[in-house]
Each structure stands twice: as C-alpha cells, then as structure tokens.
C-alpha cells in the first residue's frame, strides 16, 4: 500500500518545527516530511518516488539560501514524476515578481502568508490533498477523516 506524503520546506528550524507541529493532526493518515532546504527536499522526493509513494503536496517557504521556494516549485512543476503534486507557498516575504512567477510558471495552488493561522493552513492542506487523491484515483476510504468533505461531496455530485 502506497503512502501519501506531504513535503514541508523551510530553512529556519524553529519555523519548520512549528509548521510540523500544526500538521501532526494529519499524521494518522499521511506522512509529513520536514526539510531544511530544497536540496534536502529533492533527495527525499527522489526516495519517495523510487519507493512508489505519492507526494500529494509541497509546502515551501520562499526566502531561503541557495534556492528560493518559487524556483524549486517551478522545477517540480516541470518534472513529470510529480504531475498532480499540489504546491503551496508559505512565506512572510515574497515580492510582486516572485508571486507572479509562482502563479505563471509553477502554477502554485495556494499562497499563505506568515504568520499563518493553524486552521487556515490545515484546511488548505486538506483541500489540496483531497484533490490530489481524487485526481489520482486513490482509494480514499481509509483517509476519510482527514479529507475535505466539501471537495469529496462536489466530486461525488459530478461523477454520479
């Protein structure tokens, strides 16, 4: 049985742990992988892909040394191993240009600004992961508690 993984990338450890702590409620069904850089995320994603698991969502900070979030998300967007993977930018500082790039070139699905609200973060994550699961045709029965009911309901209405 494949795992469904959520990747979080944030260079400041304290912030990374704070995001991780908010996402603990999802760990009953999904695996949350915390990464301190895009390079680390790339390695983790390679391993996950090789194991045949799914990367449902990447949550990334924008301002990081070496490579910024948008550039990494563009890279992921152009990688056919990760078609369907949802992308979220979580940042306290993104210029107008960053944001335009993020939308046009990386087709990010959600933008959340810091400081974030736990509820907003969790709801957005649930929505995006639910969309991913439906799109991939993964059996969602075992994740039911963690999914976005509205998205599921809309999907049922469309398909029946």
């Amino acid at each position: 049985m494949e795992n469904i993984v959520i990747i979080v990338i944030e260079d400041q450890r304290e912030v990374l742990r704070a995001i991780g702590k908010d996402l603990v409620v999802l760990e009953g069904g999904f695996l949350v992988e915390e990464c301190e850089s895009t390079a680390e995320a790339r390695q983790v994603m390679d391993a996950i892909d090789a194991a045949g698991d799914h990367i449902a969502l990447i949550i990334s900070d924008q301002v990081m040394p070496n490579q910024n979030g948008v550039d990494f998300l563009i890279e992921v967007h152009n990688d056919n191993r990760f078609t369907g993977t949802r992308k979220m930018l979580l940042t306290g500082l993104a210029t107008h240009r960053d944001t335009i790039e993020a939308i046009n070139k990386a087709s990010i699905d959600k933008y959340i600004s810091k400081p974030w609200k736990t509820d907003e973060l969790i709801d957005s994550v649930k929505t995006l992961v639910t969309e991913f699961i439906l799109e991939k045709g993964i059996d969602y029965a075992r994740y039911l508690d963690l999914l976005d009911k509205q998205v599921l309901f809309d999907n049922l209405r469309k398909t029946t």
Binding site: N3, R13, E14, R17, K21, G28, E33, E34, S37, V44
Partner: protein, 445 residues
C-alpha cells in the same frame, strides 16, 4: 572676407597683441573687488596671475559662487561684448591677482580682425564656464541627495526607536512568560526521568537536523517495527535505544506522554530563541537608523565591554571568558555605540563556537594601547571563517547562518563597521580554524 576662418590665435598671442600695455594693468590684493554686479564695465580683462571668483546675489542678497577664473582666463566677457556694458557678476580676488585689460577702443576700426582674433578664445572661455556650471550643478544635486538621505535616515531612526520600544515590551512579555511556563512545568513534573528529559530538551532544543531525524526515524522503524508516525515521535526524543525498547513494552499512553513532553520542551526552547532573536533584530534596526555620535562623552572602553558581557551572558555561560586591559582606556564616544560593537562581536564568537560544538570553547577580549590608538582584540577558538568569506563578512545582508532562528539579518558586522568608521577607527579580521581574531582600532581622544 575669406571663407576660411582663422582660429590660430591662442591666449599667449592675444596677450602679446592686445594686453601688453603696462598702463592697463591692475594689481588686486586678496579679497579686493574688481567689478560689482550691475556696474558699468566696458573692459575685457585677462588674468595674468592669481584667481578671481564670480558671485551672483540671490533674492535675499546672499552671494552665491558662480565660477572661478584662473590664469589666462577672461573676465568681463559679457559686459564687454554686450550693448549695455553692465556686469552681471561681482568679481573678487581669491588671492593677490594681476589682470590686464583692453577697452572698446581696441575694436575700433578693425572689427573683423578683432572678431577673428577673439572668437575662438571666447568660445573656449564660454565652454569652460559652462563646464564649471555643470560641475556645480552635479555637486549640488549630490548634496541634495545626501541631505534627503540623511533626513530619511533620521525619520527612520525616530520611527524605529518608537517601534523598538513597543516591540521590546511585547517581546519582554513573551520572553518572561515563556520562562515562567518552563519553570512551572518543571516543578509539576515529579517523575525524575520525565523531569530530566524535559530539562535536557528545554536546554538544547532539537539539536538534530531534519536529515538526522529522518535517519533516526528509519532506523527505529526497521529495528522496532513501529509505524512511521510513532517512529517519528520517538526520533524527536533524546531517548537511547534501550530506553526506547523498554518504553515500547509499556502502553501507548506512556509514549504519548514522553513525546508530548519532548515536544513541549522543544517548543518552549524555540520560543525563547525566537524572543531573543526578535529583541536583537529590533535593536539592530534601531542602531542602523540612528545617528547618535553627537552625544559623545568620555567613555571607558572596559566599562562598555563589561556592559556588553552582561547583555550577552546567556550566550557565554558555558564558555571560558577573559577580559583584560593593559592600561585605563578612555575614548570620546556614545557608550551605547561601543556596547553595540562588542555585543555583535561577542555574539558572533559565541554562536560560531556553539554551532560548531567547539571543545572547551574560550573567548578573550583584550584592550591594548598602541600609539595614537586603542586596540580591542576579540579572540575565540571556534571553527574560523573560511578565507573566501573573510572579505564579505562586513557587507550588509551577508550571513553564514542558514539554519535556526537565533541568527540575524546579516546586519551584525556591517553595524560594527559602520559604527567603528564613524569614530574614525577600523576593524580587521584574522581567522583560521581554532582561532578567530577581530581587531578594532579606535583613536585616542
């Protein structure tokens, strides 16, 4: 009239031909006035020696410098050639000056020759004046920009000071209450093992990187056959494998308790780190926007260093420190500025040693007297600064700190350099693995 225009006459030839009458020479003492603005003048002067400055009066009657004329340059050009023969400038000698002149009679009966002789040099004269005006204009624009910049910085400084006060209060509340929560939880924990676990994690925070945590998690997963989510919980704790083995025999509740307690300790640790960081950022921004060297007083270097040591106490608690001076050192400075220099240097030294987990870390600060200068040497035995980075470290926005909240905006050393330069001092770094020396030189009063 010929088609070609002869332009061979230079100033030397003109002087020979027109300005050679010793009766038509004027000696001016330094400060003497040759012509006054608005006065009748039908003479053309050439400067044989010395220098004249032309002034224009503005609507307030203030004299504004317009141009300077030196040897072999002409003055009275406009009034000589115009119909009205009125000067538009006041000309004053900057030093003892000799001029020779011609009047309108020089042109009489030979207008064409005169024009040919003078046109090239007059065009050149006007060109020189125009260039001078342009240069004045550029200087003025630069001055206005600088003024504007200064005003902007002053406003920023006031804004930052107000903001800093408000934020420091808020940060203070968060910081104090975090400490209170930590010590209260510690007191509530009666179980010695749990209490030690809590204290260890509170002290160190999560010292493992995400890569290390992932490895630990995977090894726990395969060793104990636990699901990923439980392995992740266990990996975050400081439990040894033996402790994990015995813990797994207990019920899930015990695991949850330990896991939550670990999480709580790390959280409180992170909160304290964040509060310290926020306080430092506020301080840094305030210092950058401030120009307070006006309030300079007699200041003991040792006192400012001791103050900085007190402020950074939490950083060097586990480090062997020494502060020495070979003689009493007094400078004229704002004590706050100097404290800021030492705080940044001490903070850098301590953080680099703690990040590199330097064995028996030590920090020494020495005040030496060298000629016209005091030399303050801050030495640590940390990992050193790679040579390639040594040139960059004083630039704003340069930071080596890529992980962790305790690390700054990359303002620290740029602030040090800014302040030291304001006091006409200098700062250098010498670094290799095991010894980093920052040397600050400040002039004696």
């Amino acid at each position: 009239m010929s088609d070609t225009f002869e332009t061979s006459k230079d100033v030397g030839q003109l002087k020979q031909k027109y300005f050679n009458d010793p009766a038509r020479r004027i000696q001016l003492k330094k400060g003497a006035t040759l012509v006054v603005e608005g006065m009748y003048n039908d003479r053309l002067y050439v400067i044989l020696d010395g220098m004249l400055t032309g002034y224009l009066s503005d609507e307030n009657g203030d004299q504004i410098e317009v141009y300077q004329s030196k040897r072999d340059m002409f003055v009275g050009v406009y009034s000589y050639f115009s119909k009205e023969h009125l000067t538009y400038l006041t000309l004053i000698a900057d030093e003892d000056t000799t001029v020779a002149y011609i009047d309108q009679s020089a042109r009489e009966g030979q207008a064409e020759v005169f024009a040919r002789d003078f046109l090239p040099v007059m065009v050149h004269e006007l060109y020189l004046r125009q260039m001078l005006t342009q240069r004045f204009n550029l200087q003025r624009q630069a001055a206005i920009r600088k003024l504007f910049e200064n005003e902007k910085m002053a406003t920023l400084g006031q804004l930052a000071a107000g903001l800093a006060h408000e934020l420091n209060n808020a940060i203070g509340v968060l910081d104090k209450n975090t400490s209170w929560l930590a010590s209260t939880i510690k007191d509530i924990l009666k179980n010695k093992t749990l209490r030690n676990l809590f204290l260890t994690m509170l002290e160190s925070g999560q010292s493992l990187s995400t890569v290390e945590l992932r490895e630990k998690r995977k090894s726990l997963e395969s060793k104990f056959g636990v699901p990923a989510s439980i392995a992740k919980q266990l990996a975050k704790t400081s439990l040894t494998e033996d402790e994990v083995r015995s813990l797994l025999k207990e019920n899930q509740d015990e695991l949850d308790r330990i896991s939550l307690l670990t999480e709580a300790a790390i959280t409180l640790h992170d909160m304290q780190v964040a509060a310290t960081h926020a306080a430092h950022v506020v301080q840094s921004v305030r210092i950058l926007g401030m120009n307070n060297s006006a309030a300079a007083v007699q200041t003991s270097l040792l006192e400012t260093i001791n103050k900085a040591m007190a402020l950074t106490k939490s950083l060097w608690q586990d480090i062997a420190v020494s502060v020495r001076q070979d003689a009493e050192a007094i400078v004229i400075a704002n004590p706050g500025d100097l404290v800021q220099i030492w705080v940044n240097l001490i903070k850098n030294a301590c953080e680099s040693m703690s990040l590199a987990q330097t064995q028996s870390p030590s920090l020494s600060i020495q005040i030496k007297t060298e000629g016209d200068y005091y030399q303050i040497i801050v030495t640590d035995n940390g990992p050193g600064i790679p040579e390639a980075l040594q040139k960059k470290i004083f630039q704003p926005n340069f930071t080596t700190r890529v992980s962790g909240l305790s690390f700054g905006l990359g303002l620290g050393l740029s602030i040090v350099r800014k302040i030291v330069t304001e006091y006409r001092g200098s700062v250098q770094v010498e670094s290799r693995a095991g010894e980093t020396r920052f040397e600050v030189q400040l002039p004696k009063p």
